[in-house]
Symmetry: C2
């Protein structure tokens, strides 16, 4: 972790550290089931060093309007559960073997258990939301879950298909990733009974932040700096995912380069050295830079969405988080 | 389909035919998504000749107390969506290739799409429940989804393990199958604002019926009569599922027979002729008969749960359905 990342996280902890601890406590508590494999597998993923970015959004947006209750921590836990469930199902889907440098659930437990434990986490989330009893929050989460699954299916249909353009890519990213950032942010407005316009602004912040975050993630998958930090790269390439760096490199490449991309991503022809060539092309064509520039534009939009909201330490932290989403090491 | 089954379905149609049509209409309507693969895959499964047994329970239990509204059809559609989602995830899990004699979703679309479309159906169900706006119904469905996933994980852990006894088997069956029958039945009481005691009776009816239904299903997987009707049998055997006929045959078998079961189900050693031998043993040891007798006991309990409820054509139909659940051809 870079010094900068550490500073951001330390700052967050100073503002909402107690809330975050409460959220982690609720996560552990609600992972409980008499069926042992559920807490075992759930804990494996949830404790594996995720940054809790999404629940942090719920905590910050709740506190920024002076929320004095305690149920926001439960809603933050729900957001992390939904995120974890989608990871479990996404791992099954992508046949990926590592995530955050650890073995993924399905490389350790096969395909069966992660699907079912993901279902448990979805269900447990809705149980917690029913307990909370706010139909508005239930509506946000149910709608978001539908959008996420639509985004995942869209991504599936678009994979191995280089006719996917930037517009389509951003549609997928908005649905499968950014919609949960948006929901996490909107919830803070809802629990404070803020106006629909303010809730929308929070949602817009979350959406733009989520897009930036995913675009950076997709860029990092082609970054040798990442590799030097000991992170796995090249997963997207291997799976034939059509991400922004690839779309840019493909459209700006020579006919010979375009043939390389088609062979590698549409046909799955990836002889030794293919990943190295892909990384070199993405760099040569300025595609990594292009993706990072686009991400920064979304960060600007995210911060703009917050402008008219009242000042507070939490709002400052949201701005910091937005900057952090592109300044992660790459 | 036997003449008897046809008579039961005709009778049901005469009572709640219009409701069932409305339910089917709502199912098709809510399967809609701009992501084409979702309605394609969803329709494939939902239109593939399922009996709509679970939504029928919601329709009958709603109407038996004189319900005059129309939202029960929407709740019935939700129940069918949840059922379909669990089938999609169960198929991925079990690597089964046929269901109801048709190709399963995952044999046609791989593992990825069925998981995600299942997630969409879960999410869409909760969207519909939020629209309906009754937290009590939301609670029933959320709790049931959690129980189903726990049951599926329990089954996973118990598979290939002949130390699974009848008690454990019934716990799995209650969770993974019967809990949705119970929920479907309770909802009818809830939408009519009936007393908790009456709702519980409906739930008990559904639970016992669901257990009977699954026990019969598991018995039919070893029935040569089924095979003559053109249905696939032997799936459970091949997957090493520990079902009631097997538990009975194993515990009542000779040491040599027990070794056969251990090899076949725990080790997966199934040379040619294994299924035929399993079927013969299940018959010789009276295990098929035992399972059917047990199922009939659950049917008796299901019908008893209804006794104190006011008489109505719908109540009679529920009794008929209970008998039908064991009188399916075997």
């Amino acid at each position: 972790m870079s010094d900068n990342s550490q500073a951001v996280l330390d700052h967050l902890r100073s503002i909402i550290g107690a809330d975050l601890e409460q959220t982690n406590h609720l996560i552990r508590e609600h992972l409980d089931s008499e069926v042992e494999l559920i807490p075992t597998l759930g804990t494996h993923l949830i404790e594996s060093g995720g940054k809790r970015l999404r629940p942090i959004l719920t905590l910050l947006t709740s506190r920024m309007f002076g929320y004095q209750g305690t149920t926001h921590a439960k809603l933050a836990a729900v957001i992390e559960f939904i995120h974890t469930a989608t990871l479990l199902h996404d791992d099954v889907v992508d046949k990926s073997n590592t995530r955050r440098g650890q073995a993924t659930a399905n490389s350790m437990w096969g395909n069966k258990a992660p699907v079912l434990v993901g279902d448990f986490l979805f269900s447990r989330s809705f149980q917690m939301l029913v307990e909370h009893g706010d139909l508005k929050v239930l509506e946000i989460v149910a709608n978001t879950c539908a959008i996420i699954s639509e985004g995942e299916v869209m991504q599936l249909v678009a994979s191995n298909d280089l006719s996917t353009d930037e517009r389509k890519y951003l549609e997928v990213v908005s649905s499968k990733t950014a919609s949960l950032f948006a929901a996490a942010s909107r919830i803070g407005g809802v629990v404070n009974g803020r106006s629909p316009a303010e809730v929308e602004r929070l949602g817009h912040y979350g959406l733009q932040l989520g897009i930036a975050y995913q675009v950076v993630d997709d860029a990092l998958d082609y970054s040798t700096t990442q590799e030097k930090l000991g992170k796995t790269i090249g997963d997207d390439f291997q799976e034939g995912k059509i991400t922004l760096p690839v779309i840019h490199a493909y459209h700006n490449g020579s006919e010979e380069e375009r043939q390389f991309w088609r062979d590698a991503l549409e046909q799955g022809i990836q002889p030794e050295g293919s990943l190295a060539r892909a990384i070199a092309l993405v760099r040569q064509r300025g595609s990594l830079q292009y993706a990072m520039d686009r991400a920064r534009e979304f960060v600007v939009a995210a911060k703009q969405a917050l402008e008219s909201l009242p000042p507070s330490p939490e709002k400052e932290a949201l701005v910091l988080l937005a900057d952090f989403s592109v300044d992660r090491s790459y």
